[in-house]
């Protein structure tokens, strides 16, 4: 064995300042934060700032038109709890969110299963399916407003023609009617989202699994539960949670169809907050407090959603 001659290495001269700064910036931890900073900036400016401003306003008696308001602590929140309309609003929101979602899920699943079959015009139908979802809600809600018209509603006309009902139906005329009508319109708008998401999931179900199950003796229903459902379960859970969150935070459909009426009986959080804060009374503090009552519910749902997504990743 031969040994290499020992070489002495001279200590390196200190680097110039500019080079040291560059090395520091290019080090991984620093660079990572640097790349994240635009995203952080957008989040801070457009999400965090309004959020914390909203919290602050909800603690004041600020009104529209006045630059500042008095700090009133949790008075707005307390007053809301005593307000019958607000309590009805909470109930409406839960009905709206939890009644429509199962229907959207079921209809979306059926549509997806149907559109996953091979038939002529399938692609046309798949594209058409998305229409309720991509048409601006404000516009499609106007169409529903016409369908629910107390005098001109084609639904009333048809039912009268078939002899089911005597006179026109006041679709939006009473609380129960109005809530059912709102739910129907919401289901119509939300079903495509489920259908498209689940359809994408169905296409990921390997064909051989169905064939293997068919050979082993499973009929169509058994195959659905044994093969299809487990594969699309993740997508179903995620779309359901998303849909609940979106339905809870809805505004447009209710605003266009009922504006919370009749007699403030069909408000959900979004429309009631608008009416309290901007539309009617102009009590910004109160409106902000209404919105913030939604926060714990949505935060909890989001936490469940994120947990689920992460559990699927590992």
């Amino acid at each position: 064995m031969t040994t290499a001659p020992v070489r002495t290495i001279a200590p390196a001269a200190p680097l110039p300042l500019r080079q040291r700064i560059r090395l520091w910036i290019e080090s991984e931890p620093v660079l990572a934060y640097l790349f994240m900073s635009p995203g952080w900036l957008i989040l801070l400016l457009f999400m965090s700032y309004p959020f914390f401003l909203g919290i602050w306003i909800s603690l004041t008696d600020r009104t529209v038109g006045l630059p500042t308001g008095e700090f009133v602590g949790l008075r707005n929140y307390r007053d809301l709890l005593r307000d019958g309309v607000f309590r009805l609003t909470v109930l409406n929101t839960f009905i709206y969110g939890f009644v429509t979602v199962p229907f959207k899920l079921l209809l979306g699943l059926l549509l997806a299963l149907l559109l996953n079959q091979a038939f002529r015009l399938r692609n046309v139908l798949r594209a058409a399916l998305l229409l309720p979802w991509i048409v601006p809600t404000a516009l499609s809600s106007l169409a529903w407003l016409m369908l629910y018209d107390p005098v001109l509603s084609p639904f009333s006309w048809l039912l009268k023609d078939w002899g089911v009902v005597e006179g026109s139906i006041a679709f939006l005329g009473s609380r129960v009617n109005a809530i059912v009508s709102l739910c129907v319109a919401n289901i119509w708008r939300g079903t495509p989202f489920f259908a498209v998401a689940i359809l994408a999931g169905l296409q990921a179900v390997p064909h051989e699994l169905h064939e293997a199950a068919a050979i082993e003796g499973a009929n169509a229903v058994q195959r659905f539960f044994a093969v299809t459902l487990p594969v699309i379960r993740g997508i179903v859970v995620i779309t359901t949670l998303f849909s609940i969150i979106w339905t809870f935070a809805d505004f447009q459909l209710v605003y266009v169809l009922t504006k919370g009426g009749p007699a403030n009986s069909t408000h959900i959080f979004g429309t009631f907050a608008w009416q309290e804060g901007i539309g009617g009374a102009g009590k910004l503090g109160m409106g902000a407090a209404v919105s913030l009552y939604m926060f714990p519910i949505l935060a909890a749902l989001s936490a469940i959603l994120l947990r689920y997504v992460r559990s699927q990743e590992t």
Binding site: I215, E216, G217, V231
Partner: protein, 365 residues
């Protein structure tokens, strides 16, 4: 256990004929391999037997039962898929038990059969795992286990080894053969790999373009191919084929291609009587061309050919020779020392010559 019969089975997809008038009888307990290039209809033929494809015409029998229009689940078959088709959310145990549960087999019986199959396949320790936690070879075993527990009349296997790496494939091939011989269940095995076909099957059905070319034992397919397609498909490297003219004189027959002249062995002469002064296709397997190092006198069974290329494979050396019509490949000894451009003497084992009719491509001998 049962025999399987394809009786004039045809399967069309719109205008494409995937399986054309297939008539085939698989004996009870036989391991039959369906082999052919991709698109030859072998998989479609298997899927027709499974009931995953409806036949266009003809009948399929399992045992003495016509199953042509019976749904897959009532055919008493089990299938192993190329990608295994294991249920991803079920454990190995549940994957294997699924079919039995559907058939309302008592729980204890299910348990007994699953454990027995697991032991045969050496996967007892994997029963609680999910498929994604298994290696390719282990998944393949589970797929086999799922078929075994069903105790079906027929096993259908669609290229079950092609997703394994080369070494594991050879190992599993051997195990699969032993397993089938042990269980004695009629097995129909689809592959495009002629080595698998030759090593595994009691008999092999070679298909091309939807048509059954030849159904025979591995030895007969190799030594007596029925036509040009089978001759070139079976064997690696493929049989050398080139045109040659049949010349007769002095009571003997010779095949002449360019400067190459080969004496036809007496046993085959009568078959060539109709082809005198006509061209036939001459076929010689690479191992029937013996490269003789050193000079040797020309005889009726030797030719002199220049070397184009040497491919040393270790156990053998492939010698590419410039033949009368394109390259001829000869299988030479290992560690043979030759250089491109060398002219060598090649001895032809004329008793193993093949000839084919150039029009019909059917074997003459």
């Amino acid at each position: 256990m049962a025999e399987v019969i394809y009786d004039h089975v045809t399967k069309r997809f719109d205008s494409v004929v995937a399986v054309n008038d297939l008539t085939l009888e698989v004996k009870d307990g036989e391991f039959l391999v369906l082999v052919g290039p991709s698109g030859c209809g072998k998989t479609t033929a298997l899927r027709c037997l499974a009931g995953l494809e409806e036949v266009t015409s003809g009948d399929i029998l399992i045992g003495d039962r016509v199953v042509t229009h019976i749904p897959p689940k009532d055919r008493d078959i089990a299938m192993v898929f190329q990608n295994y088709a294991l249920y991803p959310h079920m454990t190995v145990y549940d994957n294997m038990a699924f079919g039995l549960k559907l058939r309302k087999v008592p729980k204890q019986e299910i348990d007994r059969r699953v454990k027995e199959a697991a032991e045969i396949l050496g996967i007892q320790d994997l029963l609680n795992r999910k498929p994604r936690q298994l290696s390719g070879g282990q998944r393949q075993r589970v797929a086999l286990g799922r078929a075994i527990v069903r105790e079906p009349q027929v096993f259908l296997m669609d290229e079950p080894l092609s997703n394994l790496d080369a070494k594991l494939r050879v190992q599993t091939r051997g195990e699969l053969i032993k397993l089938q011989r042990r269980l004695g269940v009629t097995t129909i095995y689809v592959t495009h790999d002629q080595v698998e076909a030759m090593t595994m099957g009691h008999r092999i059905a070679v298909m091309n373009q939807g048509v059954l070319q030849q159904l025979d034992t591995p030895e007969n397919l190799y030594d007596r191919p029925a036509n040009l397609f089978v001759a070139t498909f079976i064997g690696s490297p493929a049989m050398n084929i080139f045109p040659a003219k049949v010349v007769s004189g002095d009571g003997s027959y010779r095949l002449v291609a360019g400067e190459v002249t080969l004496e036809v062995p007496p046993s085959h002469r009568s078959r060539l009587a109709d082809y005198v002064d006509r061209e036939v296709l001459l076929g010689i397997r690479p191992e029937d061309l013996e490269v003789v190092v050193g000079s040797e006198a020309q005889r009726g069974d030797t030719v002199r050919l220049p070397v184009e290329l040497i491919e040393p494979l270790g156990a053998e050396t492939l010698v590419h020779l410039r033949g009368p019509a394109g390259t001829l490949i000869a299988q030479g000894e290992p560690r043979i020392h030759l250089n491109p451009g060398d002219v060598v003497t090649v001895r032809v084992r004329t008793e193993h010559l093949h000839t084919f009719d150039p029009q019909t491509e059917m074997a003459i001998f």
